[in-house]
């Protein structure tokens, strides 16, 4: 199929993004695998209209977050009921300094709403507020307000987990 080779090559180079989103939103391996597949399919369906106005990675974040946030599950295996401990593997290795604080922060992030998680992920990926606004479809001011609230919320939640 035309463009398939280019698409696969681009995904191969940027698949870390999809893995991060899957890890952020899903707990067990099967769910992560399912979400990975859905994101890949959604990206492939939309790839024909990707004009290169934005970076491929930004476009992929948009697709991945859209898919993860609207991901339909028939059963009740939701993140809220899962063991938050598993989330510790989301971002960084466990052998880093301040392990307990990091664990607490991971658990605090895992407790956020799907929208707040998306904002935190983009923030951690060093996207500026303008880029975050473009991916999320909200204004820069709105991003700033939300980030400020999230930071306070995370600090409080992380303290509770310590």
């Amino acid at each position: 199929m035309p463009g398939e080779k280019d698409f696969i090559q681009s995904i191969e180079q940027n698949q870390k993004i999809i893995h991060k989103v899957c890890n952020l939103y899903m707990n067990n391996e099967q769910d992560k695998k399912d979400l990975f597949q859905e994101i890949l399919l959604a990206a492939w369906k939309g790839y024909g209209n990707f004009k290169g106005d934005a970076k491929f990675s930004t476009w992929l974040y948009r697709v991945a977050l859209n898919t993860a946030i609207t991901f339909y599950r028939k059963d009740k295996r939701q993140i809220e009921t899962a063991e938050l401990k598993e989330q510790v593997t989301v971002f960084v290795d466990n052998n880093v300094p301040k392990e307990e604080q990091l664990t607490a922060m991971h658990m605090a992030i895992a407790g956020l709403s799907k929208i707040d998680k998306a904002l935190v992920m983009l923030y951690l990926e060093d996207y500026d507020y303008n880029e975050i606004g473009n991916v999320m479809g909200i204004t820069v001011n709105n991003v700033a307000v939300k980030m400020s609230r999230i930071k306070i919320k995370l600090k409080e939640s992380a303290e509770k987990y310590l």
């Binding site: 870390k16 893995h19 929208i115 923030y123 999320m136 479809g137």
Partner: protein, 205 residues
């Protein structure tokens, strides 16, 4: 620890060499069937499209094979209803394809998925509710033709007959109304509520 301290550590430790899929594995993934909500609705639309085509074919067949007073208007009505149904299904299908081809920003994506889901469930509900009285009226006419054509039935009590039939229909309609609502809610209700909550989350400054 604050989010900015965490971010610093995260950036320092983000090696990015975790689980990777080879090109072949990615290709395999691309060949698999989607389980997304839009994919599910698309499959439902295609199924309903096939069912509607079947009913149109059946109506046309009965038109030529049973040229009675009742068959033709019933066939015409069935074809007209199916055509309206086709138009709605087609429009909805087009909307889903447009959404899939141009992934929007998260907020717009949520809005679009909610709209698609609401339109689909509304269409399902309205179509079920509309077909019931049509079937009732045609059933009534068919019953009338059956009775008047039978010389043995001379003392049929029309008032009692119609009253009984109407009450039975109203009861059936009420049951179907609540059952269809319950069924739609069971299928998509909780999911729709989750999406609406997420949209609220993203819209609230």
């Amino acid at each position: 620890m604050e989010l900015d301290d965490f971010k610093q550590l995260y950036r320092e430790n983000d090696s990015g060499d975790r689980a990777t899929h080879s090109a072949g594995e990615l290709e395999d993934c691309m060949r698999s069937k989607t389980r997304s909500i839009t994919g599910k609705i698309k499959r439902s639309i295609l199924f309903e499209f096939v069912v509607a085509v079947f009913f149109v074919a059946l109506a046309l067949w009965s038109w030529f094979h049973y040229p009675s007073r009742l068959t033709r208007p019933f066939a015409m009505l069935t074809i007209a209803l199916c055509c309206i149904f086709f138009l709605y299904l087609g429009a909805l299908y087009k909307k889903i394809v447009a959404y899939e081809k141009a992934p929007p920003a998260v907020k717009d994506g949520l809005r679009q998925v909610i709209t698609i889901l609401q339109q689909f469930t509304r269409l399902y509900f309205q179509f079920t509710m509309i077909t019931l009285p049509i079937v009732f009226i045609f059933g009534l006419i068919a019953g009338y033709l059956e009775i008047t054509g039978d010389a043995r039935v001379q003392f049929f009590n029309w008032f009692r007959g119609i009253l009984f039939y109407t009450i039975a229909f109203i009861l059936w309609w009420i049951i179907m109304y609540f059952f269809t609502r319950w069924y739609i809610k069971k299928l998509y209700g909780n999911y729709l509520m989750q999406l609406q909550q997420q949209l609220k989350d993203i819209e609230n400054g």
